[in-house]
Amino acid sequence: MSSELQLSKDLQDFIKTWKDKPGNLIMILHRVQQEYKYVPREVALYLSKELNVPLAKIYGVVTFYHFFKLKKPGRHNIQVCIGTACYLKGGGDLLLELENLLGVGVGGVTGDGLFSIEGVRCVGCCGLAPVAVIDGEVFGKLKKDKLPEIIAKFKDK
């Protein structure tokens, strides 16, 4: 991200509407992450000033909640479910295979910036275990040998 910070109009408006509501920080961080896919430091600094909360509190919140990211994920973030139902049905193996295929571990981003891998705990499709979610698209009853095909599909997107 460039050094001079230019927030989109939508994001600015969102911050404006929430600015004076008690308990706004988490909702605003969600909106920030929706825009940037993570919480950039410049934005955190901006929020600190704009909302008049210490930067330490913002980082306290960001680091407490697993959902918020401090590092930019890949263009396509692959979430592999390791909730109980998926774990029992081989979610862990999917994760390993994916790490092998992409050559990065959980939390890492591939060199070309295209993919990142994340382990998540239940996306609420346990009936279809094991499950992975890529850019919001759910892949249920997923088998290891399907992964290369899926990766190829997203590579071109």
């Binding site: 988490i26 279809l128 759910v138």
Partner: protein, 613 residues
Amino acid sequence: MAKATVADLQKIAQEQSGVKSAYQKVVLVCGGTGCESSKSDLIYQNLRQGAQDAGLTNVQVIKTGCFGFCEKGPIVKVQPDESFYVEVKPEDAAEIVAEHLVKGQEVARLLYDKNKKPGTKADDIDFYKKQVRVVLRNCGIIDPENIHEYIARDGYQALAKVLFELTPEQVIEELKKSGLRGRGGAGFPTWRKWDFSKAAPGAQKYIVCNADEGDPGAYMDRSTLEGDPHSVLEAMTIAGRTIGANRGFIYIRAEYPLAIHRLEIAIKQSRELGLLGKGILGSNFDFDIELRLGAGAFVCGEETALLASIEGSRGMPKPRPPFPAVKGLWGQPTVINNVETYANIAAIILKGGEWFAGMGTATSKGTKVFALTGKVKNSGLIEVPMGTTLREIIFDIGGGISSGKKFKAAQSGGPSGGVIAEEFLDTPIDYENLAKIGSIMGSGGLIVMDEDDCMVDVAKFYLEFTVDESCGKCSPCRIGGKQILGLLEKITKGQGALEDIEKIKKIGKAMQRASLCALGGTAANPVISTLKYFEQEYLEHINAKKCRAGKCKDLLAFSIIAEKCKGCGLCLRKCPAGAISGEKLKPHVIAEKKCIKCGACLASCKFGAIVRK
């Protein structure tokens, strides 16, 4: 539309029934998350387009919430014919239109029951036969994005009754009669919570809905909100009226985008009709609801942590008392209930507490929704009367074990619960019985395990989860959890010692006693209960360095029986680690040092020459 009155509600309901009966056939397409992930939206589009192209003005196609039978999704149901189509593909839409909707011939190959006789109902199939739907009464029946459909099924009638016919005391009395207890896990009587908050002094009281659903492997609340969001909005408004609160919050996981979307639509439609906002239904009662998103912290499901999170802080639990009912959100009296608890309320108000109390056991009334998953054939969302046995759930509804292997255990209550061993399959499920056998009701996750699942590994899995999710505020949870996990890791690696079992029990007890919140207080449950019923498996890991389920990789060894090996070379090609060598037509060997214990060779050999120890 202008603000509605009670008479308007009736009018909408009548009009809506009129709209419905004008259609000869209604096609219900599952729009739950499970089915959406298998393209049910495209099926829906194709069916609509197909019906339109065929000029079928007397057919309605709508998208509903989850039918429960997610395993067999995507589901399409055609009424009034009671045709229950499963595993439908987008390209099947044309055939359904041409054969069924135009010619009136069911498409047999897509029916769940291929030999369906005329006159049988979808509810007659084994998966549904023993189910009773109170919470899920509208799921798979109405279009959750159309408030009129909810109103046509007595929606908001309970609220009207509470506003114009009942006093708050009478509402609480009805809840007391019903025996409804909290469905979020602890089973606290709902009427008492409401009564405390009502009595507590406070200028601004709040109603909160806990939709954080942190149990990994459970999705009851998600499906309820996706399939019938108004049932929760209506109940929260009733709660507001009863205790004198006019603001409500729904705290929902950010991981549930579809549920959030449906709630947003529902709230908007309710406001438009004046079912939320000022002077609801022409009364002098104001109430409104806002959403707050969770951010992936399990501990935020705990009520005091959840309230801290709504306030915008780190979600750390606080000591109770004071309880939220007295001192909750921003220090004000707050009723906080689970999604499923709320989803029962309107039905209780309309049908009466006695009706509700007519279902269930002596101490646990009504029904319970379970997310039945794991090694079971019919995985999905089910609702059964309290007191149903695990055997009925797993074998009658669930169709038995999917792998054809033997049942080993079921797990209820997620990371706070325990395993239920085979000897308890016939125990009627209720809060007390589950506690007695070392598990808990929990929120409704029910995970079935078979012989391929290692009980030590399962315990380790849950401990990894709770260690990861511990907020770190109190030391019994922060340190104790790590210690138990370390011991379990030792055992699964074959480095365990007998005294480790005693150590685990001791630390577990300390965590139970001294943790600040129930996350730490119950974190040892999975290990304590597996120890109780499957101690033998622990001992095998420790003494014989053996994992009978074959899950603990460090304890496995693969080898080739020379006499049986034909030297076909298949395993050699399959091994991803290059650990197998051998000449063609001669017995092959596995180099133990290189072996990564993936089991690919075992699966590939057609001659049964490879064994796992």
